[in-house]
């Protein structure tokens, strides 16, 4: 029994001695900081530099940024990121690439607001948060996905070099995504809202159809990115019976939209952090064509040609809109252009003086009112088979989906002049 006591006590003592040694001497950051220290003394030229290098403390280093609710300890290992002499060193001792740090004060901004990852962690595995078994919420972002986080403080058009965000935004706003998806109080409500989609928990939203190799290689194990990419490129991966159309996007296009959507994150950045140019920016008004591309094109088709199938819908496909002139009883191209011009200029067709100069004015105005009404209040898609399922697509209530009357007027103006006067009139 004495021997058992002796052996167990010695083991306890050894373990208790090992624990502080591990804590204070054997952590990852000790290795890196020691290496940096030796580089510092090798680089030192003056006596002062030499003594500073000798005194260089090996310790946990952190950036505490209460404004952004984060504590970033990344600089415990990436200790030389502000030292221009370390450009050629290997990670993690290298200088921060580019001259981003010139405009971005590390002390004020930290690391994870741009890079994501777990700022509080001290082990690279946990800090980068890429371990797929853990499903971390915010794994570190590699290029080109890191462009997304620029959007936390900047607007798209004020920064050069955000190709993916720009391209993604352009695609997003020209494919009619917001006809069904809502984004910051605008857009239809037929499909899941996209505000904060970048924060979708990997526990809830994860890709089903991507092979794990692609997930690892392209997305660095980031399930949120892979999920967004999959949903964009292969809408029917989940759920199978989705009403979302397959836009036949190339990998590159889908990647661009993924980066753009990854920028939709709910971080509340204090005003003092926002890029100054933001404040001065004026809200630009979109043209009718742009608005149509942003909100309507997905269902009503390019150029308003219609043609998207709506399951169990009485008319089969979503109505075409390029026959608007005919629907409004406008008979000549000149009249269509005249009305379109008035609408674009923001003229009130019903109360203008002199009154609208057009044949069958009352009929035209009545139809105009009816069409405005349908767009503003939306409509229910009539079922083909009364027993069948509700058609998945229907006209949203645009007055609560972010379109003002003037926006709708602009869209109508755009549609009026689309009428194919030279061809035979459409089947409707």
């Amino acid at each position: 029994m004495k021997r058992v006591l002796l052996v167990s006590s010695v083991i306890c003592l050894a373990l208790l001695l090992y624990a502080p040694v591990e804590t204070f001497m054997l952590q990852e950051y000790h290795t890196h900081q020691k290496k940096y220290k030796s580089v510092l003394s090798a680089l030192a030229e003056t006596d002062r530099e030499r003594s500073e290098a000798a005194r260089y403390p090996i310790q946990i280093r952190q950036l505490v940024i209460p404004e952004l609710e984060r504590v970033d300890r990344c600089i415990s290992c990436h200790v030389a990121l502000e030292d221009p002499r370390m450009k050629k060193a290997e990670q993690p001792l290298t200088t921060h690439p580019g001259n981003y740090l010139k405009d971005h004060d590390v002390q004020k901004i930290g690391c994870t607001v741009c890079h994501d990852g777990q700022g509080r962690a001290l082990l690279s595995r946990d800090a980068h948060a890429t371990d797929p078994a853990v499903h971390w919420d915010k794994p570190i972002l590699a290029s080109p996905f890191i462009q997304a986080n620029c959007m936390r403080c900047h607007k798209i058009d004020e920064l050069p070099g955000l190709e993916y965000v720009e391209k993604g935004s352009e695609l997003f706003n020209s494919k009619g995504c917001m006809g069904c998806h809502r984004l910051e109080e605008k857009g239809g409500e037929l499909a899941p809202e996209l505000t904060n989609i970048a924060d979708a928990s990997p526990h809830l939203k994860r890709p089903v159809g991507l092979d794990s190799e692609k997930l690892q290689q392209v997305f660095n194990g980031n399930e949120n990115l892979a999920y967004i990419f999959e949903s964009v490129q292969r809408p029917n991966a989940q759920p199978k019976d989705t009403a979302m159309m397959d836009f036949k996007l190339s990998d590159d296009e889908a990647l661009a939209i993924t980066v753009f959507l990854k920028g939709l994150s709910k971080l509340d950045v204090p005003a003092s952090y926002l890029a100054k140019r933001n404040a001065k920016r004026r809200r630009e008004r979109l043209t009718g064509e742009k608005l149509f591309a942003k909100y309507c094109i997905a269902c009503h088709g390019e150029g308003g040609k219609g043609g998207v199938k709506d399951l169990n819908y009485g008319k089969g496909t979503v109505p075409r809109l390029n026959t608007l002139a005919q629907k409004m009883f406008i008979e000549y191209p000149e009249d269509a252009e005249y009305v379109a011009g008035l609408l674009k200029d923001g003229v009130d067709l019903e109360n203008m003086s002199p009154p609208l100069d057009i044949d069958a004015r009352a009929r035209v105005l009545a139809q105009f009112r009816a069409i405005m009404d349908v767009i503003k209040k939306g409509s229910v898609a009539a079922k083909a088979d009364p027993e069948g399922p509700t058609p998945p697509l229907h006209m949203p209530r645009w007055q609560s989906a972010g379109l003002e009357d003037s926006d709708i007027h602009n869209i109508l103006a755009y549609l009026l002049i689309l009428y194919p006067w030279n061809e035979e009139q459409g089947e409707e």
């Binding site: 029994m1 004495k2 058992v4 006591l5 167990s8 006590s9 083991i11 306890c12 373990l15 208790l16 090992y18 624990a19 502080p20 591990e22 804590t23 204070f24 946990i60 952190q62 504590v71 300890r73 777990q118 509080r120 962690a121 001290l122 082990l123 946990d126 853990v134 499903h135 971390w136 919420d137 928990s201 526990h203 809830l204 994860r206 089903v208």
Partner: protein, 538 residues
């Protein structure tokens, strides 16, 4: 081995050379002279005040030390040699106590850094893990010790049951033991919730839903006016309608104040009862060769016809004097023999916990997210057997079944009053019953789980079924019913209540182990069946 004896000699000399008390010193002419002498004598006097009986290196001083120290006097001065038999106690009680001590020490230290608020709890655990010097080790050892303590308490209970040690006069201490078991579960569960990660948050949600489950029963019965009882229980637990800041503070308070206080008090009672019930249980018919190899000393074999012990206080009663050993005493000095054995167990446990703590990190998932249920949302491992039943009915699995099991266990000493050889492991017929019951229980649990996985249960066959049926008829209640009938059958067939309770106890243990294993390994997302966690989707 010269050094210790030399030290002993030296220390004895120190004691004998202690300066005499200076109170009668008349030579002192001035107060200052007296003060100077007092200062000179300070080390010696201080030592005498602390040690009181001299350095504990002889049987006499050691006995005095045990007798007069608050902490040591939990032991009797002499310990029965049977108690030191390693194959009898297996050191499980001491191991559990050692784990509790480790938990108290590490827990108090963790309290320095832990912040019990929704916003800060998770981040403070992160900081404990990464930045607090030794924090990672503290948290890991705390976690490991907590898990091992559950195991230790259960094994200790099994040891006491199988060695017939709950029999009269130890019935009350058995009940105290059951209370300690429940407190251990409660402490562990409340601690599980504190990191406020996904694991913790959803465990609290499950726990609070169980507290609210009387609603399920009363609604199924149609007594809607009573359904509020469940909500009230839930609110008392959470301090709110939702799991939030109030809940975290309540769990913190339970974990760090209320439950440890109760635990310490009941552990005190537990030990006190061991002393008052005549020490640890032991057979009356110990054969000399059964004690071979155990420590012995000169007086161990002395037989006290006229007890040398005096019970100064308890003797003063009219109806007979308290029983003292009639046989040969067969005791040895607690110091060193019992103490050394206990310290060895404690040290082995400490080494094990440190080893686990240094090399295996306690889990910490992503921060709690009330919008995203962890799937599967699993309770801590020791509740997964119950969660299997909770998946049918929160009331049956969370309240009825645990209440039934704990009440039955607590009543064991009163349902079985037979005299089996106290302090001995089962032999012959009893061992046969243990083997057969365990096998039967194993097969029945596996069979019902396999049936459930293969064919589904009532709700799958008839989605509109009244929940009352499911509360009454689910694998948990079916097994309990089966165990009960089997216990009655064994009692009737063998004519022995001890063999009946043995059958029941084996069923309980096997039920706990198999259901826990099943819930841990074979239950995945949406509580579906999977052969291995690696097959979980995603």
């Amino acid at each position: 081995m010269k050094t210790p004896s030399m030290e002993k000699a030296a220390s004895r000399k120190d004691i004998h050379d202690l300066p005499p008390n200076t109170s009668s010193s008349s030579a002192s002419s001035s107060g200052l002279g007296q003060l100077a002498r007092n200062l000179r004598d300070l080390p010696g006097n201080l030592r005498q005040a602390v040690l009181r009986h001299g350095f504990p290196d002889s049987p006499r001083t050691r006995s005095q030390a045990v007798f007069s120290s608050l902490f040591l006097h939990i032991h009797s001065v002499r310990t029965h040699r049977w108690t030191l038999k390693q194959t009898f106690t297996l050191g499980l009680g001491v191991a559990t106590l050692a784990l509790f001590a480790i938990l108290i020490v590490t827990g108090i230290m963790l309290m320095v850094y832990y912040k019990p608020t929704e916003a800060e709890a998770y981040q403070s655990i992160k900081d404990i893990h990464y930045v607090v010097p030794g924090g990672r080790l503290l948290r890991n050892t705390h976690r490991w010790a907590a898990n091992l303590m559950i195991v230790g308490v259960l094994l200790h209970m099994a040891r006491v049951f199988f060695t017939h040690s709950y029999q009269k006069p130890r019935e009350f201490n058995w009940i105290v033991g059951i209370v300690l078991l429940i407190l251990t579960f409660a402490l562990s569960f409340t601690g599980y919730c504190l990191p406020w990660d996904q694991l913790a948050y959803w465990a609290v949600v499950i726990g609070s839903n169980i507290a609210g489950s009387p609603r399920e029963l009363f609604e199924a019965l149609g007594w809607t006016q009573l359904a509020g009882i469940g909500d009230l229980q839930r609110e008392i637990l959470l301090g709110s309608h939702f799991v939030g800041n109030e809940a975290i503070l309540r769990f913190y308070w339970l974990h760090c104040v209320a439950l440890p206080f109760l635990m310490t008090a009941f552990i005190g009672v537990h030990f006190w009862r061991i002393r008052k019930d005549g020490g640890m249980s032991r057979p009356e018919d110990i054969l000399p060769d059964e004690l071979d190899g155990l420590p012995s000393d000169k007086v161990a074999r002395t037989s006290f016809q006229d007890p040398g012990k005096t019970y100064t206080l308890v003797c003063a009663v009219s109806d007979g004097s308290p029983q003292v050993d009639k046989d040969e005493e067969n005791t040895v000095q607690s110091w060193p023999h019992a103490f050394r054995a206990e310290l060895s167990v404690a040290m082995i446990i400490l080494a094990l916990v440190l080893l686990l703590g240094i090399f295996l990190d306690a889990p910490l998932k992503v921060p709690a997210d009330p919008m995203v249920p962890d799937n599967p949302a699993k309770a801590p491992w020791y509740f997964l057997g119950l969660q299997e039943v909770v998946s049918y009915s929160a009331f049956a699995g969370g309240i009825a079944l645990p209440f039934f099991f704990m009440a039955s266990l607590a009543l064991i000493p009163f349902l079985d009053r037979e005299k089996f050889p106290t302090g001995r492991w089962p032999r012959q017929k009893e061992a046969g019953i243990i083997g057969f019951s365990s096998l039967l229980a194993f097969l029945s649990v596996v069979a019902i789980l396999a049936f459930r996985v293969k064919f589904g249960w009532l709700r799958d066959w008839n989605p509109g079924i009244n929940q009352l049926w499911i509360i009454l008829v689910n694998p948990g209640t079916m097994l309990v019913m089966f165990f009960g009938l089997y216990t009655l059958w064994v009692t009737w067939r063998t004519g022995s209540t001890r063999l009946g309770t043995t059958a029941f106890f084996c069923c309980f243990l096997v039920f706990f182990v198999v259901m826990t294993y099943f819930g841990t390994v074979h239950r995945g997302p949406n509580w579906g069946f999977y052969w291995w966690p690696s097959q979980w989707p995603g």
